[in-house]
C-alpha cells in the first residue's frame, strides 16, 4: 500500500511485526535476550531499575539475567542516553557489539555527539523506540508510584497527554525521523543509504495497541541485525507509519504554538530576566545537557574572573549588582554554543532545582536557529554541523554591501 502523498524517493517502510502477549516491555526484553543469546550482539545498554529501589539508571550488560531489571521506556529520563553512551565510548570503540535501546531524542543526541567526536558508534546498534514522552523527574522523585501509573496512560494517549514533560508534549521526533531531503547541499557526497537516519533499528509501538510491536530497520546495519534474528516474515509498516504521521502533524502544530508562546515570554531584557530570575547558577542544566561536552565549561573557567575593582565599578554604574554575576550571559552564551544541536530532550529542565523552564526556552531557541540554517540535529549522520562548514555566498542579508555593490538580494532570499 503506497500513499499518494509520498514522493518517489520515499517508499513505505517495511519491517517485522512481533507479538507482545505479555506486554511491550516483555516483548522488547525477549528480543534483546534473543540477540544476546544468539551472539548477534555481545552486550546491551538499556535503562534499568536499581534493585530494591525505584531509581533508574543505564546498565551496560553482558549477563542475560540482568535484563530482568531492564525497561526500554522508563517513566523518567535520568541520565540522557546519548551522554551515557558517550561516557563509555568517548575514548574509542568498545570493540564489542552493543545494542543500545533508547528514546529517539537520546539517539539524536548520540548522533550529534558523533559529529562532535565525543562518541564512537562503530560497534553500536542504536535502537530507538516510539516514545510517548517522559514524566517530570521531580514528580517521579516525589511520588514514584503515582507518577509511574500516570506514565502508563501516556501509551494510550499518544500526542495528547498533558502529564508528560512540557518539552515532550511538543516533541515531533517521538518516532523515526520523518523522511526528508537531507540538508547537505553537496549531492556528490557518497552515501550508503539515501537517507541516513539516526537509529539503526526502530521499535514502533503506535497502532500496536500493546499487543504487537513493530521492528523497522533504518540502516543496512539494522536490517542485517533484524535478518539475523530470524523472526516472522516481512510486513508493510504503512499502517504504523500513517498513524505516526497523524500524531506528528498534531505535535508540529503544538510545537509552533509553543515557539510563539516562548518567544513572547522571553522577548526583551525585562522578560528574559524574569524567566531566569530564580537561577542560582548551579549549572545543572549544562551538566545534564548531552550536547554540552566541554571538559571545563567556558562559564566555569578563569576567563570570566575579574578583579574586585571591576566588579565594584560595574556595581557603581548601576547602583547594585547581582551575584553570582553573568546569569544571563551564561544562559544566552550556552545557547549560542549549543542551540544548533539542541535535541529538546529536556534533561536540563529535569535537573533544574529552581523549576526554571529552561528546556522549553532552549527548545524554542533551538527551533529558531536550526530553522535558519535548515539543520535538523541528530537525524542524519552525514549532515555536517552548521558551524563546521560555510559557503562563500550565503547569508548576504546580514552583510553590509561593498561600496558601489548592490546587496545580494536574491542570494539572501534563497537562504532565509
Amino acid at each position: 500500500m503506497t500513499s499518494t502523498q509520498k514522493d518517489d524517493k520515499t517508499e513505505s517502510k517495511t519491517g517485522k511485526t512481533l507479538p507482545a502477549e505479555d506486554g511491550i516491555t516483555s516483548a522488547i526484553i525477549n528480543l534483546l535476550k534473543k540477540s544476546l543469546a544468539e551472539k548477534q550482539v555481545e552486550a546491551i545498554m538499556i535503562p534499568s531499575k536499581v534493585p530494591d529501589t525505584e531509581a533508574y539508571t543505564w546498565l551496560l550488560l553482558q549477563d542475560e539475567s540482568l535484563l530482568a531489571l531492564g525497561n526500554p521506556l522508563p517513566p523518567v529520563m535520568t541520565v540522557q542516553g546519548g551522554k551515557a553512551l558517550s561516557n563509555v565510548t568517548k575514548h574509542g570503540d568498545l570493540q564489542e557489539k552493543v545494542a543500545a535501546v533508547m528514546r529517539p531524542c537520546e539517539v539524536q543526541a548520540a548522533v550529534e555527539l558523533l559529529k562532535l567526536k565525543q562518541i564512537d558508534l562503530d560497534h553500536i546498534y542504536l535502537i530507538s523506540v516510539d516514545c510517548p514522552g517522559a514524566m517530570p523527574l521531580r514528580d517521579y522523585v516525589n511520588d514514584p508510584e503515582k507518577t509511574a501509573k500516570a506514565f502508563e496512560e501516556a501509551f494510550s494517549t499518544w500526542g495528547e497527554n498533558e502529564s508528560v514533560r512540557p518539552v515532550c508534549q511538543i516533541c515531533h521526533q517521538f518516532s523515526l525521523p520523518a523522511p526528508q531531503q537531507s540538508a547537505s547541499s553537496d549531492n556528490s557526497l557518497p552515501k550508503t543509504e539515501a537517507n541516513f537516519p539516526a537509529a539503526d533499528l526502530h521499535i514502533g509501538l503506535i497502532g500496536g495497541d500493546g499487543k504487537n510491536v513493530f521492528l523497522i530497520p533504518a540502516t543496512t546495519k539494522g536490517q542485517d541485525l533484524l535478518d539475523n534474528l530470524d523472526l516472522s516474515a516481512e510486513d508493510s509498516m504503512a499502517n504504523w507509519e500513517s498513524k505516526v504521521e497523524e500524531i506528528r502533524e498534531r505535535k508540529l502544530n503544538k510545537r509552533k504554538a509553543a515557539d510563539a508562546e516562548w518567544q513572547a515570554k522571553t522577548e526583551g531584557v525585562d522578560n528574559l530576566t524574569a524567566v531566569f530570575d530564580d537561577c542560582i547558577n548551579c549549572h545543572n542544566c549544562q551538566s545534564a545537557c548531552p550536547v554540552c561536552y566541554c571538559q571545563q565549561c567556558y562559564f566555569d573557567s578563569q576567563l570570566l574572573r575579574l578583579s574586585p575593582e571591576s566588579y565594584l565599578e560595574r556595581a557603581e554604574k548601576r547602583g547594585a549588582l547581582r551575584f553570582p554575576l553573568d546569569t544571563l550571559l551564561f544562559h544566552v552564551g550556552r545557547m549560542s554554543h549549543m542551540a544548533l544541536s539542541c535535541v529538546s530532550c529536556g534533561a536540563c529542565e529535569d535537573a533544574c532545582p529552581m523549576s526554571i523552564p529552561v528546556g522549553q526556552v532552549f527548545t524554542m531557541m533551538g527551533n529558531k536557529t536550526q530553522e535558519y540554517f535548515a539543520y535538523s540535529p541528530g537525524t542524519d549522520r552525514n549532515e555536517p554541523l552548521p558551524l563546521q562548514i560555510f559557503e562563500e555566498d550565503e547569508f548576504g542579508e546580514v552583510e553590509t554591501p561593498r561600496e558601489g555593490a548592490e546587496a545580494p538580494k536574491e542570494e539572501a532570499e534563497k537562504n532565509v
Binding site: 536499581v50 546498565l59 553482558q62 551515557a84 578583579s307 556595581a315 551575584f323
Partner: protein, 370 residues
C-alpha cells in the same frame, strides 16, 4: 556582656538605616547582602552601591540561593578588594569564607563582616518553584520563640553553630521578641565598634548568648542526635549506601554549589578518571554488568575524602540535587566525625591550619606501627 548598638526601628529598617549612613558617609563603597529582585519574593545576593536602592535590601531573608562565602571568595579571588565594603552573611557562609581564605581563595581585607544569630534558611525545594512571601510570618514567629522554623534545611535544624564567631558585627534575631520595633547589633570586634559609630542608635550592654539562644541550641542538639540515630539506622552499610545513591545522575551539582569545593577542574571531571574502552570491557567482563555512567559512589566518597573535614553544613548540596539525595546529611555527618578526630572546626579560626596538607608529628602515633 557584649557591646551592642540598639536602633529604635524594626530590625530590617534599622539595618537599612545603618547601611544608608555607611554609604552616604562614604565609609563603605557598597553593601553586599540579599536583595529583592522581583515582586514575587525572588532574592539574590547583590552588591548595593546606591543608597536609594537599599529599600530593596532584605538582609535577613531566610533563603540561601548561593553560599555567600563562595561568592565573596570569587569576588576577592584575584586580589583583595581595595575599597571598604560591608557584607552580610550567615554563620556558615562566614565559616566557608574563612575556610576559603585559608586555602588562598579569597581575601578578608577591607570587608566589614556582618553576621547574625541564625534561625536557618528555607530549603529551596520547599519553595516548590515559587517563592512565597506569606510563609515568612511563621518563620519569624518560630525564630522569636527559639523554635525550629518550618521548611528549614535539615542542616539548619541540626546546626549548633548558629552564633557566629568571627564577625565584626552580629545582628540579633534568635529569641528576639521585638524585631518589629528594635534592631540590636552586637559589636564583636574593634572594627565593628569603629563602624558602629555610623549607626543611628545607642550603645548598650547585652548578652549575645543568653537563655533564649540556649533554648534553640538545646532543640538543635536534640534534633542532631535524632538525625544521627536515623542515619545510623537507615544510611549505614553498603546496601544502604547503594540505595541512597541509586538515583544519582552524576550531575555534580552538589560539588558545583559547595563552597569548599574550589578546584577549577574537579578530579572527577578530568580525563584521568574517564573510562577507557579497556576499563569498560574489563568491568563488564568481571561483573557481567556496568552502571553507566560509572563511579557515582566513588565520586561521593572521593569528594568526602577531599573536603568533608571542612564541611560547614550549609546544606546547598541537598537543595540543588535534582533527585533529593540527602547529600548534606551524609557529608555533614561524616564531616562531624572527621572534625572530632582532627580536633578541627572549619571556619573557627584563621590561625588554625587546614587538616589536609598539614600534620602534627606526635599524633595518631599508634597507627602504622603495630
Amino acid at each position: 556582656m557584649s557591646k551592642a548598638v540598639k536602633i529604635q526601628q524594626s530590625t530590617e529598617d534599622g539595618l537599612r538605616s545603618f547601611f544608608e549612613s555607611l554609604l552616604q558617609d562614604k565609609t563603605v563603597k557598597g553593601i553586599f547582602t540579599l536583595r529583592k529582585i522581583n515582586d514575587e519574593g525572588g532574592v539574590s545576593y547583590s552588591l548595593i552601591t546606591d543608597a536609594d536602592d537599599l529599600k530593596n535590601a532584605v538582609p535577613l531573608y531566610p533563603q540561601m540561593p548561593v553560599n555567600a562565602g563562595k561568592v565573596l571568595s570569587d569576588f576577592t579571588l584575584l586580589e583583595p578588594i581595595q575599597e571598604p565594603v560591608a557584607a552580610v552573611l550567615r554563620p556558615c557562609e562566614l565559616r566557608a569564607f574563612i575556610e576559603l581564605v585559608k586555602r588562598h581563595h579569597g581575601n578578608l581585607d577591607n570587608i566589614l563582616l556582618i553576621s547574625l544569630t541564625c534561625g536557618g534558611v528555607r530549603s529551596l525545594k520547599s519553595l516548590g518553584g515559587k517563592n512565597d512571601l506569606k510563609d515568612l510570618s511563621s518563620y519569624w514567629e518560630s525564630v522569636s520563640k527559639s523554635d525550629l522554623a518550618p521548611n528549614n534545611r535539615e542542616t539548619c535544624q541540626t546546626c549548633e553553630q548558629f552564633i557566629p564567631q568571627n564577625a565584626d558585627m552580629v545582628i540579633a534575631t534568635v529569641g528576639q521578641k521585638d524585631m518589629d520595633k528594635e534592631c540590636t547589633v552586637f559589636l564583636t570586634s574593634p572594627k565593628g565598634e569603629e563602624y558602629a559609630q555610623a549607626a543611628p542608635g545607642s550603645t548598650v550592654s547585652e548578652e549575645m548568648e543568653n537563655e533564649k539562644t540556649q533554648a534553640l541550641m538545646d532543640k538543635r542538639s536534640e534534633q542532631k542526635a535524632k538525625l544521627l540515630e536515623t542515619f545510623k539506622h537507615n544510611q549505614s552499610g553498603l546496601k544502604a549506601l547503594i540505595k541512597t545513591f541509586a538515583p544519582c545522575l552524576g550531575c555534580h551539582g552538589c560539588r558545583q554549589v559547595c563552597p569548599i569545593c574550589l578546584c577549577h577542574l574537579c578530579d572527577f571531571d578530568s580525563k584521568t578518571l574517564e573510562y577507557q574502552p579497556v576499563n569498560v570491557r574489563s568491568e563488564l567482563n568481571q561483573k557481567g554488568g556496568l552502571k553507566v555512567p560509572p563511579g557515582n559512589i566513588f565520586f561521593h566518597l572521593g569528594r568526602m575524602s577531599h573536603m568533608a573535614v571542612s564541611c560547614v553544613s550549609c546544606g546547598m548540596c541537598s537543595d540543588v540535587c535534582p533527585v533529593n539525595i540527602p547529600v548534606a546529611t551524609l557529608f555533614s555527618t561524616v564531616g562531624d566525625t572527621l572534625e572530632k578526630v582532627f580536633e578541627y572546626v572549619p571556619g573557627r579560626s584563621l590561625e588554625e591550619p587546614v587538616p589536609e596538607g598539614t600534620f602534627k608529628e606526635q599524633e595518631f602515633v599508634e597507627i602504622g606501627e603495630q
